[in-house]
Amino acid sequence: MSNSPQAAEAPIAEEETPSSLDESAVERISEGAPSWLSERRRHAWSVFEDTPFPSTRSEEWRYTDVSRVVNLADLRLVTDGGLAENGSRPAGLVAAMEEDLAASGHAVLVDGSVVHVDLDPALEEQGVILTSLRSAVHEHGDLLEELLATEVVPPEDGKLQALNAALWTDGVLLYVPRNVKLDLPVRVTRWVSHAGSAVFARTLIVAEPESQLSYVEELLSDDFDQRTFVSSAVEVIARDGAQIQFVSIQQLGRDVFCQSAQRTLAHRDAKLDTLNVSLGASVTRLDLNSRLLGPGAHSELLGLYFGDEDQHFDHNTSQDHVAPDTGSDLLYKGALDDRAQSAFRGMIRVHRDAQRTDAYQTNRNLLLSDECRANSLPNLEIQADDVRCSHGATVGQLDSEALFYLLSRGLSQDQAERLIVLGFLGDVLARLPLGGVVEKVTRAIERKLEHV
């Protein structure tokens, strides 16, 4: 087990002059990169240019008007981990880094660039790789050439996915060889420091056959007074019999547009579970596609969101059952207060050969004010005939009888709401009880409830 990264050995680089999001940026980022990567970036840029901006007329973007959420021309690209001018670390990042939770290793990213990595030496000896994508380009070029931004989250997935594939500056590679099991999670902290910046990072996680890993990332920043764009592409591959737990806890500050495209591939007998917790940012868009590619593969898709003020969450999920005898179970739950809005669009797709699929999908929303709104659109597309599928969505108000019951025991209105909300959201966390995650998320929700 390694210690938490209190003292990062990599000094934070001097701030580069940020550039606009255009083709020259692609060229500049590509300098010194292997040709396959430069080609791939140029290709992604051309896909970006050829792809129209998502419109609310399309089913998938009905509830989020990106053209009003972010104006790419106003943003500046940060290509190096240029932190605060004097090189000191903001309190929020330091607090996150000093949290002493047991881990197999850590990575810290500032403005999309990795500034620290540590890994348990015993795991390193077994061939586990935890490194920045930027160094992996040189050290593990073959692996990246095969997997990065190709089959998992290719630029063709959409306008914003293409932009990320063209302009990503850095990210995390976690590779676990065959039969190696990580007992403790890899913990990743991603800090964003510049208001008005655009940050493009990627994550590539590969678990070879019969291996096991868990990955917990946190996205953090202060509140901004200018629209800031944080873009992520997450590619997760579980080979035959591998087990992966992926957790992302998003607590970015206000005025951030957080966009994340995630795809998970679960091969034969693999177990690949995800938990996405969205608490921060002004606008959050998650596209998660979970693909069950081999018989016996199973995925749980867990999600939790809690919005207040004018926060907006848009979750777009799909469960793709490609192989027979696969299972997936989705549970997304959210609570909304003030004028917060959420949209959930979930698709279960059972391909023709995916007989004996078990696929479930549940989205539940709890409304705490009269002005908040939740939209839920569950969908099924089933081409096989021997399947068990169900989907359900609920939107409900705070139960006034439950509230009175708690008040009658002496709880204040705030205490009562806190218990009801945590009780409502808690079962999502209980399904993926990784060390520290439940406590961390509970504390974050409590902090938000105190503002109510």
């Binding site: 006034s400 009888e401 019951y405 009658s408 002496g410 204040s412 218990l419 009801i420 009780g423």
Partner: protein
């Protein structure tokens, strides 16, 4: 027992908040510390409404009258302030709170009784909770179950008394706690309540029930009969026994007779009441 009353209800009238439907039509009642009062009466007579009005349920609106609890006007207090002042309502139909464990719920309820900056000691709390669960013959695993979620009727009622045992009120309103309990569970609950009374002889109880059988285990100091939203007869335990034998038919008739004697100004309300009876 002290001479000063813990609860004084004077001509209390209340209606359903969103409707013009008067349920309590002038209740008068005085309870002194340590006393057990029973209210009996037919369905729809207003017994449960009285308990809910005293606890501050927003479904009801007090239209006139006064309630003094421990020397303070009660009706201006929020429901949680009433609880903090020492009132406890054991619900007839306890509400489910999904995802919230009994332990967490009760710890928060105790926390609410402390000053800012004070914290419930977790170890003391665990000991106390286990001790109280033992009193009610409850399995320790019960503490981790979500409040009333998936409970049987009997478990819900027992859970109400567990909360009462932990929160130690000075006045407990027990709304048909006996209904839905088999005879064994009834004895356990009654023994629990009696133990609480021994621990705190000042604790007063207002026991709302349909049946006399609960009174075999918890001796009342006074029995009141409620019909048509007010108390029409008060007496000792013999009243309960008489009711068990004769039912409420006489009282309903008598209520009808009284109707004519009322002064003219109140006629309208009385008619509505007759409709609801």
């Amino acid at each position: 027992m002290s001479d000063t009353s813990i609860l004084t209800i004077t001509d209390l009238r209340a209606k359903v908040a969103d409707e013009d439907l008067e349920i309590l039509t002038g209740v008068n009642l005085e309870i002194r510390p340590g006393e057990v009062h029973t209210i009996m009466g037919p369905n729809g007579s207003g017994k449960s409404t009285l308990a809910k009005v005293l606890a501050g349920h927003p479904e009801y609106e007090v239209t006139s009258g006064d309630v003094v609890f421990k020397g303070q006007p009660l009706l201006d207090l929020e429901p949680n302030e009433r609880a903090l002042a020492g009132m406890f309502l054991a619900f007839q139909y306890p509400t489910e709170i999904p995802g919230v464990s009994i332990a967490n719920f009760l710890r928060t309820a105790l926390q609410a009784r402390l000053e800012d900056g004070e914290e419930v000691d977790l170890f003391d709390f665990q000991d106390e909770l286990l001790d109280r669960m033992k009193l009610l013959d409850m399995d320790p695993s019960f503490a981790e179950r979500p409040v009333n979620d998936g409970f049987s009727g009997g478990e819900k009622k027992r859970n109400e008394i567990l909360q009462m045992a932990v929160l130690r009120p000075s006045l407990a309103l027990m709304d048909e706690t006996d209904s839905g309990l088999d005879i064994d569970a009834l004895q356990i609950v009654a023994n629990g309540v009696n133990t609480l009374r021994e621990e705190n002889p000042e604790m007063a109880i207002l026991l709302i029930t349909h049946y006399q059988r609960m009174l075999n285990y918890i001796q009342p100091d006074a029995v009141h009969v409620m019909v048509g939203g007010r108390i029409v007869l008060s007496g000792g335990p013999e009243v309960a026994i008489a009711l068990e034998e004769q039912g409420y038919a006489d009282w309903k008739e008598q209520e009808g007779d009284e109707e004519g004697k009322k002064e003219e100004g109140k006629e309208e309300k009385e008619q509505e009441e007759a409709l609801t009876a």
